[in-house]
Symmetry: C2
């Protein structure tokens, strides 16, 4: 199965095509996050219209709700959510470790309680594959064990070794031949373990490789160094997917190092919080500076929002906490990311990526790392602290 074709690569940077049962995905590509079977606030036509051809959904969320029975009956996620493009599902590993309370891990699998209703579940590599076969994504992930920043070297090594054994179990459990299975390289923050993980998994002939466990709070230079350490030991001909990375500057740095696929909730999550991307950096639309601003929030931006509305209108919607605010901000940020990916791909094909990267990084003012980390922690805390039983 030759699902991935490189069009060009120069140094480590590359442009390619991932062929799936639901269309061709031009890489490097960003996947908008639709954990629960919806890219928050948007309909599929809008996501497609922005130029996205693959989105990410979450096995953990869909397994808990609506559940596999409904998913099976509805004929899988594509039909359920009316998305014609490709879908990649995460296996649930990351969510079990980050969202579910009381998670206990053994060699067989992981026991956790649902963050929705407290019910107990037991997720094994085999069940993760079964669930993803029912959901029917085009690309599915092996179940991995996530380390936390601060785990001991022994803990990280054990988690990595188990991730490898689980990846093998996933490959054996897989029945559908119309889905691509990616393994997830782990190894925490040790260059040596990162190398080991990449080397081991590269030898097992998966359809592609994800890099997990990065961008979870460690310093940015460390992320990039470990990313390089991993990528160097993965086969050049297979797609590489950097999980959970998606700030504009991180996407540029990831592409520079040879990553093909990205997903991240950041562009849509910060949009709903009023942080809008411009080529100069993020802007907080709630800021009083926008109250009377007749021009669009990002002059020159050709997205629906900037073509149609003043910054003052967006500011007004956010101040009023109008639901349309979250939708328009989402459209703006995702269009920005789609545009960024398209420009990078085009620069790679033109052999001008290094110029693009320099120009971009010279101009774009990234959000302070500490601020961003704190924002993410607050969000995770909120996500976890949802009431166990929904108030009527």
């Amino acid at each position: 199965m030759h699902s991935f074709h490189l069009k060009t690569s120069c140094n480590s940077t590359r442009a390619g095509e991932l062929h799936t049962g639901h269309g061709v995905v031009s890489t490097p590509a960003f996947m908008p996050v639709g954990s629960q079977g919806t890219v928050k606030t948007l309909i599929p036509e809008e996501v497609e219209g922005m130029g996205f051809s693959m989105l990410l959904a979450n096995t953990y969320h869909l397994y808990l709700r609506p559940g596999l029975e409904v998913m099976r009956r509805m004929g899988g996620l594509h039909r359920f959510m009316a998305w014609k493009g490709a879908i990649l599902t995460d296996s649930g590993g990351y969510q079990v470790f980050s969202l579910a309370p009381l998670c206990r891990i053994s060699e067989e699998g992981v026991t956790f309680r649902s963050h929705i209703d407290g019910s107990q579940h037991f997720l094994t590599p085999e069940l993760a594959i079964e669930a993803q076969e029912v959901i029917g994504a085009d690309v599915i992930m092996a179940l991995d064990v996530c380390s936390a920043y601060g785990d001991s070297p022994e803990q990280v090594e054990q988690a990595m070794a188990r991730t490898h054994r689980w990846a093998d179990r996933c490959r054996k459990a897989k029945k559908r031949d119309d889905q691509l299975l990616f393994a997830i390289a782990q190894g925490g923050f040790s260059p040596d373990l990162r190398r080991q993980s990449a080397t081991y998994l590269a030898g097992q002939d998966f359809d592609g490789y994800a890099i997990g466990g990065l961008s979870v709070g460690e310093p940015k230079e460390m992320t990039l160094a470990l990313l390089e350490e991993t990528l160097a030991f993965l086969p050049a001909g297979k797609p590489r997917y950097l999980m959970g990375v998606g700030s504009p500057e991180d996407l540029v740095e990831g592409v520079a190092r040879g990553v093909d696929l990205f997903d991240c909730a950041l562009p849509t999550r910060v949009a709903r919080n009023g942080a809008l991307f411009t080529w100069d950096g993020r802007r907080n639309i709630r800021n009083a500076a926008f109250r009377q601003m007749e021009r669009p929030v990002a002059p020159g931006c050709n997205c629906y929002v900037c073509r149609t509305y003043s910054a003052a209108y967006l500011h007004h919607l956010f101040k009023c906490e109008e639901l349309l605010a979250y939708r328009l901000a989402t459209i703006h940020n995702l269009t920005f990311i789609s545009d960024l990916m398209a420009r990078m791909r085009s620069a790679i094909l033109d052999n001008s990526f290094e110029d693009f990267r320099k120009d971009f990084l010279d101009r774009y003012q990234p959000t302070n790392e500490q601020t961003r980390f704190e924002q993410k922690q607050r969000w995770l805390k909120r996500a976890k602290s949802k009431p166990v039983v929904r108030p009527q």
Copy 2:
């Protein structure tokens, strides 16, 4: 200024055309509510695509936020919200009495505190007109004094008389000649006062007449009797607008009695609560019966939602409290209302309205009146109890 043309009328039922600076509105028509300059969750293209040609915005809300200074600078509401069709603004009377805390009324005007930040404001008939001229709606309303269900006959009569004096002041204050000014007939729950109010205002040559103060908690037979009492004394050649009415069965009864225009937050508000219209009555999409339902929530409905998604998907979105849920439900309910209005108009023009009305009412199971009243009270209470200062 001949802005309203009757195409046909039979008994009291009528179909017409209201000509505005932003297009022709075929009547009877329902106006979706966009109090703060947005029909909640939707973009203007969607509202227009459903067949609506006029929407309602609120002077009270827009005066407080974004405020007249911003509204003036942005060139009025049409441009601000990018809506190409017609707009009608309520004068703020109803909102001051129902939403603002500490409202005190005198002959000169009404003092109230903002429900947003507690700031004090003084609204006069002249200011209501000035604000509406800045907002730039195609149809504007005179400032009225609202009675509450349970007010004494003396209170109601005084409120009515003041409403008349204020309507005259509004007419005198009006400067723009591209806006139609409607007066609001009041009179509480007294047939005699209703008659007096309609008669007085009919003699003052307004561009149209609204019927205010109905459907605020009184029994439905009383609403209809008082509506008839009012309409009988309004000039047939002027448009009649029944304020705040908009459940499907009430729209049919209003049209049957000769109402041309309606507005109501109900279709969009209950949508966000998961109540979806079908020709058989409202359905609560959160109900477990929909969990596995492959067919659309309203079979035969041709709206985007029913053409695209199963009831199970909508159910899932509501259970997950996904923002897309509120948007899709809004699209469904507004399309239903638009379809209902189009069918009624077509039946009037075909001279078959009585058959349509009978068929509709035979089939449609209205929501229990008590339930609906309680739901509305809960909503008003929530709307009032918003924190005075928004948490950051």
